[in-house]
């Protein structure tokens, strides 16, 4: 029930923002639409509702994950733009394997997405049971699993563990 309530609230807020400025007909329709969404997909969206109650997690998300993410994202863009514009195309691509100790679905999803949006790396596949991610790297600096993990994943792992585990 709690899960569905969370999804209902999120869906309703998104609906309100899409139908700005609010007016009672839109709000009424929104209640029905959000309730339908919550009824159909409520069990998939939030699997552990008690995790939403810790204010410290939001704090870490807003003030240590987001700035980090945007900074890395900007660096990624400048890096790729430089490689593309360079006349000799300085790329050295390959798929490497990295290990992660994160366990939960949300944390793994965020890790994979962050890796995709950061300099030169793109997640190809996840093996959840072994805790292994396969990452396409545009400029392979080290083929060894341990060292690649250090370079690619560590900057996010620590922060994500505080937020999602």
């Amino acid at each position: 029930m709690k899960r569905k309530a969370v999804l209902f609230l999120v869906a309703f807020v998104v609906w309100c923002l899409l139908n700005w400025p609010p007016d009672w007909q839109h709000l009424l329709a929104g209640v029905f639409v959000a309730a339908f969404c919550a009824f159909m997909t409520g069990d998939l969206f939030v699997t552990r509702p008690h995790m939403l109650k810790h204010p410290l997690r939001y704090w870490h998300f807003l003030f240590s994950y987001l700035p980090r993410f945007f900074w890395e994202c900007l660096k990624a863009n400048v890096d790729v733009a430089w490689r593309v514009a360079h006349p000799r195309l300085p790329i050295n691509p390959g798929i490497v394997k990295i290990k992660t100790s994160l366990k939960t679905d949300t944390a793994l999803t965020f890790l994979a997405n962050s890796i995709t949006l950061t300099p030169g790396t793109l997640t190809v596949d996840i093996d959840k049971d072994k805790g292994v991610l396969y990452v396409h790297w545009i400029d392979v600096k080290d083929k060894d699993t341990k060292k690649a993990t250090q370079i690619i994943a560590e900057r996010f792992e620590k922060i994500l563990r505080k937020i999602f585990e």
Binding site: P93, G94, N113, L117
Partner: protein, 111 residues
Amino acid sequence: MNELIGLIFISLGLAFDVFGCLGLVRLPDVYNRLQAATKCVTLGTASILFGTFLIVGFTAAGFKAILCMLFLLLTSPVAAHAIARGAHRSGVKLWEKSVIDRYKEDKEGEA
């Protein structure tokens, strides 16, 4: 003032989008092209939307721009991930000068 900052964001976004498209043309294989497409096009488009939000402010269009930005940041890496995985599974080869392919090694080990 807001309009000026918004225009700066929009021009930056356009520049990144141009680099993304250039990458699509110049880079050698699917995976490298996906790199250029996801990174540059995601941040470029997000930056254009943010510039729009700064110019129009908290109006109907502004809120929609912010929502689009959120969904874009959430979904575009997932799409890239799905395309890359699908391409690899259906046998698209890496560029011949690629240095290593651990994914293929592991898959062959299983089979």
